[in-house]
């Protein structure tokens, strides 16, 4: 039975884009609207050409009957280092955290290894899109206290090359905003170690640290000033103008087309960062804010979205409520702040739906949780017209499941990325099959 499935899957995978696929009898959960039963989807050229209850399969189409199964949009993890990290303990296999204070020209996309084993592992649980980050400074590797570490990329989790995986090679610019506020690395609580690594070492307290922060901000402002000068010089076609790759990379940021991501656990940092962004006239997205209720009003007023970290995390310190992390998404929802979930890792990306489910257990409405891993990330990352829901005209990134994807018992039966059915096998499944056969 399994072999048959494998054969079919591989046959399907052999279809190039351009072929027509017709999925029929699905219970579709579009996310952008209420669920509909008995729907068919017409997929061509990687997109959902049409969907409805009364569609008919065109001649020559590959027909997939999914009676009794559900169709969801593929899930999107808003913070990973997929493709950039293979084995956590081996630096040679890691390509995040470069050296250099201001490195906006670095692109995570072209360092992504499309054959990383991790893609096969995360696809199997329905993650079809991810934002992969060049890092946020500090921690291991060469990077000390990097201020701008490069451009994060929005990618599909399948493709022959990183070019094919690309959705947006510069979806955000990573800024390590200088702040003194601790990163909740306290006592028995605190973020998982790898998340702390991604965020960098906590700032030091004390008067000297204050001065150091102001110095850093001055440096940052200086860099932005230089970038603006460059922007003007370029527009004015000045005679002695020559291309500077760093400042070229800054232009979309200055034009408000590319947001900056900022890690900001404390409300005070959020406030400072918002004030700074206003002055600089740039767009921002906050990563892993913690004091959401406090910062909520300001975030909502300025329409600034946030990416929340793992719900399954320990409280910040000994005295924090035991369900502090579980209730963060609910906090964001109540504050009216737009949020998406990210796992801030590589190996736990496939648990993204369970991070969302935990939020539901602790009060977040079920639909909001689904949005946080589908349409919200799509919109936050500027791809709301392409991803995040099952709608005509969007990419055919689809999960076909036998249940709610946030339920751990659910199996994914078929997976489509950009209209192509992707094999649901990976290294782990291959090892399983091989050793199942050992007598």
């Amino acid at each position: 039975m399994k072999i048959l499935g494998l054969l079919i899957a591989s046959a399907v995978a052999a279809f190039a884009a351009g072929e027509i696929t017709f999925i029929q009898n699905a219970d579709v959960y579009p996310i952008s609207s209420a669920p509909i039963k008995g729907v068919s989807l017409l997929i061509q050229d990687g997109k959902i050409l049409d969907m409805g209850t009364k569609l008919v399969a065109p001649k020559g189409a590959m027909v997939l009957d999914v009676k009794g199964l559900r169709v969801y949009p593929g899930m999107i993890d808003s913070a990973t280092d997929l493709g950039l990290e293979e084995i956590e303990s081996i630096r040679e296999s890691i390509d995040t955290q470069e050296i250099g204070d201001f490195m906006p020209q670095l692109k995570a996309l072209s360092a992504v290894n499309p054959d990383s084993e991790h893609f096969g592992v995360v696809r199997v649980n329905g993650i079809t899109g991810a934002v992969t980050f060049p890092s946020m400074g500090g921690g291991r590797g060469g990077g000390g206290a990097q201020l701008i570490s490069g451009q994060a990329a929005l990618i599909h989790t399948d493709g022959w090359t990183w070019e094919e995986m690309e959705i947006n090679r510069g979806v955000a610019m990573c800024l390590n905003f200088p702040s003194a506020a601790g990163r909740g690395r306290g006592g028995a609580g605190g973020m998982p170690a790898d998340v702390q690594d991604m965020l960098g070492a906590p700032g030091a307290a004390g008067g000297n640290a204050q001065r150091a922060i102001l110095d850093q901000i001055a440096k940052l402002n200086g860099f932005f000033d230089d970038a603006r000068k460059y922007q003007k010089a370029k527009a004015a076609h000045l005679p002695d103008f020559h291309t500077d790759l760093k400042f070229e990379a800054m232009i979309p940021v200055l034009e408000g087309k590319m947001p900056l991501t900022i890690s900001a656990p404390r409300a005070s940092t959020i406030h400072d960062a918002i004030a700074w962004a206003d002055k600089q006239n740039v767009k921002i997205v906050f990563l892993q804010p913690r004091e959401i209720t406090k910062a909520g009003p300001e975030l909502k007023a300025k329409n600034i979205p946030i990416i929340l970290g793992r719900t399954l995390a320990l409280p910040e310190n000994e005295d924090a409520e035991y369900d502090q992390a579980f209730t963060q998404p609910l906090e964001a929802y109540k504050a009216g702040v737009k949020f998406a979930l990210g796992t801030f890792t590589t190996e736990f990306v496939r648990d993204l739906p369970y991070q969302a489910a935990t939020a539901v257990a602790y009060g977040l409405p079920h639909d909001e949780a689904m949005k946080a891993i589908t349409i919200n990330p799509a919109e936050i990352w500027g791809a709301g017209d392409k991803l995040g829901s099952v709608e005509k005209g969007k990419y055919a990134d689809l999960l076909i499941t036998d249940g709610d994807p946030m339920d751990v018992r659910t199996q994914i039966r078929h997976l489509f990325i950009k209209g192509k059915e992707v094999t649901l096998s990976n290294k782990q499944i291959r090892l399983f099959e091989r050793y199942s056969g050992r007598q």
Partner: protein
């Protein structure tokens, strides 16, 4: 005539010098004996370093120097139950947590260096152990700290070598300043000082680059092994002594000799869990023990554990203080636990007193008289009576160390260790006028003002009843 001479002497106030009259009589003073009722107006006679007589109607001998006790209170000299004064090093940074590589005299340094040079690969290497050392052998003449703490009213300290795990035995010393350190020794062997590395959860994690042991459990197992070895060693020695023929002689082990020579041990315990742990550990080792630190003994559970075990406690006067404030007014990262501790810790002496637990207070490195006095004041503000406070610094430590027949109160025949003050000894504005150690007279220097007592500006505007 003598009165005039003496007053002039007071006015001139030179730095600490010892005067050795043959007999001294302090006349018409208030005398707090500790062992008996307070004598409102009485006389104490000292001769040859001992108290010859004390009472309301004591005759002043003809050959005695007379000290006019008008307005003066006489107390027994204070006894510091756990100290490092006298060995020439600095004050320990934090006691109760143990002195891993702690400070000490030159001999201590070399011993420590020797230990550090060779990495230990197990208990057989006797890591961080100098159990045979006696503090008495490390006392140096001219340790400045002697003068300083005498200025607070201390005449006696139980000084311990505090390096490593088994630091060695402490010695009870009288704080006389002289040429011969040997003069100071009251009791050379007061008990073995054991430290268990950094307190609480901050321990090793066991990377173990520095050798065994590198974790708290490693240290505990090491101590356990030492006592097992000592037991075995003793049995073998005894058997060998009885009849050596045909028996392999036991190998000399000075670490074990040091441990066997100690009649009691000191174990650190600050947190409730540590108090619980050490009480059980001491019982397992079957050693008479004193717990030192005892910060959490303000908790009723701790006090009751201590009472049930009939434990003896040295309670540190270094009350926990708030951490330095964050620069940008950030919320302090305090835990509720830490806040409660800081709030309640100074109630510990009163709690122990009420529970009937045998305890003494020790300065824990608070050398400066004003720091010491402030710390005691905190205890007084938190329910400890003056009588109990005084006893916890005089007769109680004397009893704990078995020298109550010699020091700790003003009684005929005891050593002439006295503190003379203008005002109650634990009051803010009190001055220590004179200190007698072994009958030798010392006058605290005026220059001790910054650390001295009753200086012009005390930082705490007298707030009766404290700030609670």
């Amino acid at each position: 005539m003598k009165k005039l001479l003496f007053s002039t002497f007071l006015v001139l106030s030179v730095s600490a010098i010892a005067e050795v009259p043959s007999a001294v009589a302090i006349r018409n003073a208030k005398i707090v004996t500790v062992s008996g009722p307070v004598i409102a107006k009485g006389t104490v006679v000292l001769r040859n370093g001992l108290i010859e007589a004390v009472g309301e109607n004591v005759t002043v001998p003809a050959d005695a120097w007379v000290v006019d006790g008008e307005g003066i209170t006489v107390y027994p000299g204070l006894i510091d139950g756990l100290s490092t004064v006298g060995t020439g090093g600095g004050a320990p940074a934090a006691a109760g947590g143990g002195g891993r590589g702690g400070r000490g005299a030159a001999t201590a340094a070399t011993a420590g260096q020797a230990a550090a040079a060779e990495r230990s690969w197990g208990p057989e290497d006797r890591p961080q152990t100098t159990s045979w050392v006696l503090a008495a052998d490390e006392i140096v003449a001219g340790d400045g700290r002697v003068n300083t703490v005498r200025g607070a009213g201390f005449t006696t300290t139980v000084t311990f070598p505090t390096r490593g795990i088994f630091g060695g035995q402490g010695s009870i010393i009288d704080l006389v300043s002289g040429e011969k350190p040997a003069e100071m020794i009251l009791v050379p062997e007061a008990g073995q000082y054991i430290a268990l590395g950094r307190a609480g959860g901050g321990g090793g994690g066991g990377g173990g680059g520095g050798g065994f042991p590198s974790s708290l459990m490693g240290i505990i197992s090491y101590v356990r092994q030492i006592y097992l070895d000592a037991d075995h060693y003793q049995k073998v020695k005894e058997a060998y002594a009885k009849d050596p023929r045909g028996m392999q002689r036991p190998e000399y082990d000075r670490a074990l000799e040091g441990v066997l020579a100690s009649k009691r041990i000191l174990l650190p315990a600050n947190r409730l869990v540590e108090i619980d742990r050490m009480l059980r550990f001491g019982a397992e080792l079957k050693q008479p023990m004193i717990l030192y630190g005892a910060r959490d003994s303000y908790l009723p559970e701790a006090a009751s554990l201590l009472k049930k075990a009939n434990a003896t406690v040295l309670l540190s006067l270094k009350w926990p203080t708030p951490p330095a404030r964050q620069p940008d007014g950030e919320e302090p990262t305090d835990t509720l636990r830490a806040l409660e501790q800081r709030d309640k810790a100074p109630t510990a002496p009163a709690v122990l007193q009420k529970a009937g637990v045998k305890f003494a207070l020790y300065s824990d490195g608070l050398d400066a008289p004003r720091d010491f006095q402030r710390a005691v004041k905190k205890a007084l503000d938190n329910g400890l009576s003056r009588e109990d406070a005084l006893r916890a610094l005089t007769l109680s430590p004397a009893e704990i160390y078995g020298v109550a027949d010699r020091v700790g109160s003003i009684e005929k025949g005891k050593i002439a260790n006295l503190v003379l003050t203008k005002g109650d000894i634990f009051e803010d504005r009190t001055t220590v006028v004179m200190v007698f150690v072994d009958g030798k007279k010392y006058t605290p220097a005026e220059t001790a003002a910054p650390g001295g007592r009753g200086g012009p500006a005390t930082d705490e505007p007298g707030n009766p009843g404290g700030n609670r």
